[in-house]
Structures are given as C-alpha cells and as structure tokens.
Amino acid sequence: MHRARTILTDPLVLAALSILVLLGLGEAVSPGFARGDQIVRLLTVSAILGIVAAGQSLVVIGGREGIDLSVGALISLGALLAGNVMSGQDGNILPAILVAGGVTFAIGIVSGLGVTVLRIPPLVMTLGMAGVVQGALIAMSRGTPSGNAAPTLMAFVNRPLVFGLPGILFVWALIALAMWFLLRRTTLGYAIYAMGSNERAAEFTGLPTRRLRTLLYGLSGMFAGIAGVCVIGYTGNSFISVGDQYVLPSIIAVVIGGISLAGGTGNYFGVVLGAIALTILQSVLTTLQLEFWGRQLIFGAVLLALMLLYGRTRQLRV
C-alpha cells in the first residue's frame, strides 16, 4: 500500500504516465497524432523547452526562493542576436552561438549579483531584468523582426540527421548528460544541492555560496540564450517576444520533474520528461483548437495542481 503510493507519486513515473496518456488522447482526437514523424516533431519542440528548463532547474535547486523569470526575454534576445550575427551565413553559426550564449550569460550574472549582493528577491530581480531586456530589444530592433538563420542551423534543428532524428535532439541528450555529470559528479553540483538545502550549513562547510548562486543565474541566462539560437533555427527568423511563451512552461517542467521549488532536491531527468509531457499537452490543446487563453488557463491550473500534489507528499516523506 505504502509502496504503491510512493510509486504513484514518484514524479518520474507520473511524468512518464502522463506522456503516454496524452499521446493516447491526441491519437484519439486526431488520428496520426502519435505517428513516428509527429513524435519526432514533438520532441524537437520539447528540446527547446528542455534547454531553457535546464537553467531554470539549476536556479530552483540552488534554493532561497530561486526562480528565473527573465528566461523569456533572454530567449528573445538570444534569437535576435544570433539571427543578426548569422545573417543567413553558415560560416557565422559558431560566432552566433558564442555571442548569444555570452551576452545572456553576462545578463544572468547581473541578475545573480542583484540576488546575492543586493539581496533582491529572485522573483523581483529576474522580473525586473526581463522588463529591461524586453525594452532594450524593442529599442534595438525598433519593433521589426530582423536577422536570418543560417540554412545549416535550420537543417540541424528541423531535418533528420542520424536515425531519422534531427541534430538538436542529440544536443539535448548531451545537455542532459552534462547536467547529470554537473549535478552528480562535480563539486559545483554537490554545492548547488547543499546550498539549496541549508545555505548557512553550506557556508559552514566552506562553500562560496554567493559566487555559486551568482553563477547559477549566469548559467540559466546562457541556457536561455542557447535556446534562443534553437528557436531561430526552428522558425528561420525571430520576433521580439518569441521567448515569452517559455517562461511559465519552464517552471512547470521543473515542477513536473520533481524539483521542489523550496530547493535542494530533484534532478534533470525528471525535467526532461516534464518538458516532453508539457509539449505534448500543448500540442493536444492546439489540436483541440483551444484559443491561447484556454491553453494559458490549463497550464496555470496544471502548475497549481502539481504544487498541491507535491506539497502534500513532501510533508509525508519528511
């Protein structure tokens, strides 16, 4: 009984089950929904969300109310920068990634310093940063889309590379491995959990918690910037609010993945499943021809329902 309950409330099992149920539901509503090429398509979209959620995971695990609401604006910024650096030239792909990742990393570090040095609550700091970046984006682009993805990048994101899978899925798998290695095999990873679990105790073992926390926001910014490069690779060009739709889902994916918003627990594999489940849900809702507001409403409700579920089980587990 107890065992059955633990398995059913295990975030990984729950996420995997919901993926299957949602696929079945999609297939029932619109035959062909769960076809192979469709699933690859869904995974490609999940990868972008999953990359954003990787940064979000780090910030949340690091604790002290960690959250990054600036990821949306930073995705948009990453896409815009990458598009302009590339200007449709294959030779500029690497510089585009470096510029997009570097600038968003730097902006994330600024948010991190606001949180650690000025002690501004993360929610406020990253929300404020989102506003600043969004404003700067409008000023920079004068509100019109600019920049083009290089053809190779578009092919890498959209066309099958090996085994019928696009390159972005392999990148995502590499990121997942890197996240596992970072969290389970490096001192930095152990420090992130320690800090999220009990910051004072972490300091008392000599860990430089301020520097670490600042770095986490930098990494979250960088992941958002990379996701921005993927977005422009997916769509070909970008518009200035392209990243907005990822903010709430990146947080929901983290929560579905079993990471407590209180910090100090969870891992990235759950988040991978969470990102996939959420993307399929979004697709099912689109197939049902639900308006944007309807999707938004259901997303919010899913997040709140998960908080209720996990909030309760955490107390049971102690």
Partner: protein, 510 residues
C-alpha cells in the same frame, strides 16, 4: 548545608515559592525550588549553568507551568496558566534580548499590545503619549532620558533603548520584576544607571529578583541572596552576612570535586598549534590564548559570555574585528569558513539543524561537502570517497543504514556523529567544538568524549565549549573562563575544579 530558615516577616512578602518542581521529559529541571522576596527587596538568584534558576523564574512569570510545589503572590496562592495571568498579578519578566520594534515610536513600543483604547475601541493616541511622558518623567531624574514619547526607536542609542525596555516593563505597574541578565549587554556607566533605577523601584516597594553573571554586581545591589544547585534551592542569606567564597561553595556543592583523570603535562618548549592574540569584536574584548598540539582547551563560564563568539570567529563565520590568529606559527586571515577550513580548523556546532545539516540530502553528501572544499576537488567520485567516509563514521560508533540514507533518518546523536565525521574525513588539525553535546543522548555523549580523547592523543588540538561544567572538568587539560566577553581566569592543575570554575564564571579573578 546552610539551610537558613526564612526569617522574613510574612506580611511584607511579595513572593513566596516553595518546593517547586518541574520535569522536561526525562530531565528534572527543578527538584525543589524555593525563593522568598519581600516588598522593596532586591533579591539576587545565583547558580551555575543548568541549576534551574531560569526555570524557576519562568514559572514565576507564568511562561512555564510547574509540576508541583506552592507559589504565593502577595500572600495569596497563585496558579499561573499563562504569562497573561502572571502579568495580571503584577509579575513582569525583563528579557535580556532586545524586544523593541525600531520602526515604531517610544510610546508605541512601550504600550505595544496594551494600547489604551477610547470608547470606540480605537487606540487613544493622546492618552498613549501622555502616559508615556509620565513614565519618562518618572525616570528622567536618574536616567536623563533625552528622548520624547514620539521619538522613533531607530533613532535612539543602545543605552536609551535599554531604558525604553525597562520603561516597557514598568508601564504595566508591576509589583514583582524579574531581571534575567539585564546587565549583560551594559557597560559600567549603564550598569550604574540601571542600578539607580533599581533603587528607585525598591523605594517604591517593588520586589525585584535579579539574575546576574557578576558577583560584584550582586554584592553591590542585592539585599538578599538565594543560591540554587542542581534544581534545588540550597541556601538563602542576607547579603551582608555572607562572603563570596561561601556563595560559590554553595553553588558548587561537596560532590563537585569528583575524580579527575591525571593527564600527562605538555612537553615544555612545544610550539603551539594555535595562537590567538588580542582578538576583539562583537562581544569579545581582547582575548588571547594558545593551544598546543594534542591539547584539549576548555572554554567555561555562564552561557553567552563570548565562548561561542570565539569559536565562530576562529572559524571565520563571525570574523573578529581586531587581533591576530596564527596556526603552526603562520599568521592566518579568517574572513570566511573556507579560510579556516584550509588552515586546518573545523567547527562542530551544537545547533545542528541550523549550522550543519543539509536537510533531505544523503549522509554521503553531508560528509562530502567539507572534504570537497578542503581538498579543492573539482570532481566527485563517490566510489573513491565512500570508503574514507565509512571509516570516519565507523570510528565514532555511528549507527546508520548506509551512505545513501537521508541524514534525517538518523537520531540527533548519530547526526552529530556524522557532522564530526565530516571533519575527521578532512584530517583537521584543530577542532572547534561549540557545545557539541547539546540535545544528544548519554550513549552518544560517551562515544563523543572517547573520540575527543583519542583525537587529542593522536595530536589534534581541541577547543571545547560546553554549557555543562561537568563535561569541561571531565575532558579538558586547561579551562579558560569567560565573563562579559573577556577571559577572567585560566584554570589548570589544582585550580581546575568546580569551585574555581564557578567563582571565575561570576567574574571573580584568580
């Protein structure tokens, strides 16, 4: 024992407590508490750490309920169920901790929760201000307050705040006031000011119970003295009819000179492992000492006299403002725990949940954190580290299900062993123990003392603060006794006994 019968004429007695008992779980805090205070009398309550004086005061103030015994206030039996009931009978407890709200005015603070109301039930601002001004005027003769009812508390100096704290207590017009370590944060001038306030209250007929950590103060201000030991009132005197050493003997008792194991003297001319020179800052005033390799140095005295401040300062958690520290002859800068850890220092806190436990993480992770820092590792290979950690934990007799079990699955004592193992795995050369046995069971305490002796025998230097004097006397080679942030005595050899420890704890030098 000098069991002086209470000779006070009973009509003048403001407070009489007799045979008061209190148990907390398996621990008897109070086996026979007695105190009798007359109106207009300043009564000092003395005793070593854990003798039950604070518990007795809390029972009188209604914050703790008694298990047995009698309590009379103004000659009538009182059965207090809450602080409110005690307050209604005129009992006030003055806390050492500052309890003021800086954003509010003096008047708002003084009447916080007791604001005068008008007919409509709203706060009557005019009366609030007027009542406060009366209070301030009453004490301006002695205190020269220099602030008004409307002044914001954030703009007051620390000693003015102390006056507001006292006015806050007086605003309830109490007939019995308990001052628990009210002078702990005050300098000499402020103590004089506080005493003149006490004398004014005494002249008004208020009964005062005064707990202090300074024998000088007790003999300066008190009319009568009650001494407690091991949860029991053992003596009562008029202040003029007793000398200080008699009082200390009463606090310590006869049994206290228990058998100590002989320790080999440290070799002469040995280079000290740790040298602390003239450190100050926070509560500390010019503290110097040194510790030899393999020595166990005890920090004694009443609670909160700077012992923890020294340890946290050495660990870089609350850095010293001034002074120097050197390890093995090399000066070290201790600005954060990482500095201390790399210099070979380790800190074990008595407050595990706050300072040590990585809640929800595995035992492995709880041990690993310090090793990763001290060895400047970048990568973690659990299979390489586990055998080391298991060895460190096994040395302490730790009972646990496995390195992957969550830390919360262990008892308090076993958790503390894990936090000690955390440092054993780093091969720290200096262990700073900050009341480490707080709240752990006797078996674990035994293991802990055995481990401390083993480590010392292998050359680890240990600086040990314990709130229980018996632990210090049983374990330490030397004991530094703290009072008000300074070292008042160093006990070793013949003076390393409970009598000298208690005497020095009350600020008596040599």
């Amino acid at each position: 024992m000098t069991q002086t019968p209470s000779a006070e004429p009973s009509p003048a007695r403001a407070l009489h407590a007799q045979g008061v008992t209190k148990r907390f779980g398996a621990i008897t805090a109070l086996s026979s508490g007695r105190i009798s205070v007359g109106k207009g009398e300043i009564h000092a309550l003395l005793g070593a750490n854990g003798c039950g004086k604070s518990t007795l005061c809390k029972i009188i103030a209604g914050t703790v309920s008694r298990d047995g015994g009698t309590l009379e206030i103004d000659g009538r039996p009182a059965d207090l169920k809450s602080p409110r009931e005690a307050e209604a009978l005129g009992v006030a407890l003055f806390y050492q901790e500052l309890s003021l709200v800086p954003q509010l005015s003096v008047a708002d603070n003084i009447f916080l929760g007791h604001e005068p109301r008008n007919a409509a039930g709203f706060v009557d601002r005019r009366r609030l201000i007027a009542d406060t001004e009366v209070l301030i005027a009453r004490f301006s003769a002695v205190a020269g307050s220099g602030f008004a009812a409307g002044t914001n508390v954030s703009r007051l100096s620390p000693d003015q705040r102390q006056i507001v704290e006292i006015l806050k207590v007086l605003a309830r017009n109490p007939s019995i006031i308990i001052f628990d370590e009210a002078t702990a944060a005050l300098d000499k001038r402020q103590v004089d000011l506080f005493f003149s306030i006490l004398r004014t209250l005494k002249a008004e007929g208020v009964a005062i119970i005064f707990i202090s950590h300074r024998m000088d103060e007790v003999f300066e201000i008190a009319d009568r003295i009650t001494v407690m030991r091991n949860g029991e009132t053992v003596a009562e005197y008029g202040a003029g009819e007793v000398d200080r050493d008699t009082v200390v003997h009463d606090m310590v008792g006869k049994l206290a000179d228990h058998q100590r194991e002989a320790r080999p003297p440290r070799p002469a001319g040995e280079t000290p492992r740790l040298v602390v020179s003239s450190v100050s800052g926070g509560r500390l005033r010019d503290v110097s000492f040194s510790v030899a390799p393999g020595e166990i140095l005890g920090l004694g005295g009443l609670q909160g006299q700077g012992q923890s401040a020294i340890l946290q300062g050495l660990f870089g958690a609350e850095p010293f403002a001034r002074g120097e520290v050197s390890v093995d002859g090399r000066p070290v800068r201790l600005r954060r725990p990482a500095d201390a850890i790399r210099a070979g220092l380790a800190y074990v806190s008595g407050d595990r949940g706050r300072d040590a436990a990585l809640h929800g993480r595995s035992i492995f992770e709880n041990i690993a954190a310090a090793t990763l820092v001290s060895e400047r590792r970048r990568f973690v290979w659990p299979s390489a580290l586990k055998p080391r950690f298991e060895k460190a934990a096994a040395g302490l007799n730790t009972k646990y299900a496995g390195m992957e079990a969550p830390i919360g699955s262990l008892s308090g004592g076993n958790q503390q062993k894990i936090f000690i193992a955390r440092w054993l795995a780093t091969d720290a050369s200096i262990l700073l123990l900050d009341d480490p046995t707080k709240g752990i069971d006797l078996g674990a305490k035994g293991d802990f003392f055995e481990l401390a002796r083993d480590l010392a025998a292998k050359g680890t230097s240990i600086v040990f603060y314990a709130s229980e004097d018996a632990e210090l006397l049983g374990l330490c080679d030397r004991i530094l006794v703290f009072n008000s942030g300074a070292v008042t005595a160093e006990l070793s050899g013949d003076t390393r006994d409970a009598f000298h420890l208690t005497r020095a704890a009350y600020g008596e030098t040599a």
